[in-house]
Amino acid sequence: MHRYKFVLYRPIQFLPVLFGISVVTFVLVRLIPGDPARVLLGARATPTAIANIRRQYGLDEPMWLQYFYFVKNLFNGEMGKSILYKIDVLKLIMTRIEPTLVLVLTSVVLSVLIAVPMAALAARNHGRFADHAVRVVSTAGIGFPPFWLGLMLIILFSVNLGLLPVSGYGETLGDKIAHLVLPSLTIALSLSTVLTRSLRAAMVEGLRSDVATAARARGMPESVVFWRHVVPNSMVPTINLLAINIGWLIGGTVVIESVFAIPGIGQLLVRAIFSRDYMVVQGVAMVLACATVLINLIADIVTVAADPRVKL
């Protein structure tokens, strides 16, 4: 049982990380030239109106004081008020986070569903045609810009075939799934190539490993050797790769969210950056950081569960 003890200690380890992220985001957003007040006012901005807004949002205070308030608010579970949307940042994030999380989740599941059979096919036919074919296909998958790929999928499946909704995020569960098929597929097509490569390598290695030889020597048919011995042993490195990639994905889904009009946190973040909505950028960064930390933790738990040798 105590192999899982790290679950208790990990959050403490990540306190400094969260602190670091709070500093980095705080400084970073303020370094970007441009002023939220001016963005808000647009072309009609006058110096007095700008000063007024800066005062309202405390932007005229010294930096360190602003940071102090930010941290103080964090401890109270608040993240300030969005300059653009005029509501509490946490509330804003909560309304936007679900689509992104679900999108990431379905993409990951889909990637795995694509990657495992592809990698299996390639590994079991190592050096033969199927292997080369998988390599070619998976390289192509990584090479197409997702905004282009996404559009092509829309044109094919939604406009020409009329099978799936063009864009947006549904309301009911079934509706949501239908809406998420294409965006997830777009992400999965590129994510799965990374996974396929890593899995394939691990599987090829696994098929040559002593464990596989030993299983064969016990008279196990090739399918048993592969699925019961090679596959479980190939999973661990891929889990970690996946964890890092999910980290990248969350918030990196901006482009997909934009193409498919998914009201997620990525779009929120990019709009916040472009409109210098400091509080939102800070808040989203903190939430995403927590999500990443959580995902790493889950990845570690899965790793520990998948490989009894691992101690953390």
């Binding site: 905004f147 559009l151 947006g168």
Partner: protein, 479 residues
Amino acid sequence: AGVLTIGRREDSTTFDPIKTAQNIDFWVFSNVYDVLIRVDKTGKVLEPGLAESWTVSDDGLTYTFKLRDAKFSDGSPITAEDAAFSLLRIRDDEGSLWSDSYQVIDTATQGDDARTLVVKLKTLSAPFLASLAMPGASILSKAGLESMGADAYAENPIASGAFTLKEWRRGDRVILEKNPNFWQADRVSLDGVEWISVPDDNTRMLNVQAGQLDAALFVPFSRVAELKKDPELVVTQDTSTREDHLLINHEHGPLAKKEVREALDMAIDKQAIVDTVTFGLGEVANSYIPKGALYHDDNALQRPYDPEKAKQMLADAGASDLTLNYVVNAGNEVDEQIAVLLQQQLAKAGVTANLQKVDPSQSWDMLIAGDYDLSVMYWTYDVIDPDQKTTFVLGHDSNMNYMTRYKNDKVKQLVADARIEMDPAKREAMYMEIQKTAKADVHWIDLYYSPFINVTRKNIENFYQNPLGRFFLEDTVKN
């Protein structure tokens, strides 16, 4: 009947009309809130809104409005108190982005009865009535706002317009439903409207093509011809007050010379921009007051495209081999296209334009700091009166004439005078004068006017946007 679904680039940010300056918000406000005085479909005439009539005192300082028998969506009557509250709020509220524009109001009070509103001005103001039509001056429920608080109201507004907010899925869509208490409720055919955010232009069009949206705003110029071919779709091009123009920093070296600016104007082939960038859908601009808007000077000076002459003029002005810093708004495909085009055109006149692509909120700072030579910007009217734009562009206010640093005291005086000139004929003459002088000074370079281009499914009727961008969804029919 039915619910109209409209795709647009971004979702609303708030329903508090005084706290935003963004068109995406304004255009929805017009569906949800009514104003005292409205702008009609042509965008040139004011017509009664919640105020069924009004009178002006002889000194021109006191306005008395007669409100009609109308109700908020919660069933309470719309009173002069609500109207006064709304006007004072946009003037005084700490969060108001518009208080400057409404400082002219001295007092706003209830008159003899609950349906009489009396507004006293500090000074004469020709654009005052027009400013009441601005969505920022929408009429809110005083009781509602005070009991709910501004923040809650902004998320769950009590409507005075044709529709009420049924649900707002932030970042995704605003769902409106018909307001049965609207005073013109029988005019409204739709059961509701959904404003849906679809940021990607292609996706938005494909949504309409696939029949998943009834309408989509901002059809890219490049897509118009193609969409027009689709028998299921109707592409509408409604006259707008949008004008795209090239700002010039008058304080930068040779640009201070009028001849140099003139040469630049002649080096630019506006027709080529219209053809290439707008695919012929726009129209070459000759004045900063858009075509079809009040006091637009149809005969304003149009400098011919003549790169050779431009080159010569530059040489004469001692500005051969001019190198200019051209700030481009990143992420705006039209801006970027114009930049690429202008760069090549200017090169023909021997001018080197170094494109500097920066994110729009940053480019604004650079313009203010004077850290630029050229930059393309555009302006769409919020009010029908030319005063707003004129003040900003030529009125020598705190924004250095739209950051061009253009200085001409005669123009400055004219702008101020026109603001308080109540005789339309005289005022028109003054605006003609302003346009002529500014154009002669090359305060900036007018590029083109472009229409609002939207697309709807064939079964949608009366989907119309007036030159200020307001949608008349109360007339729209979904078959």
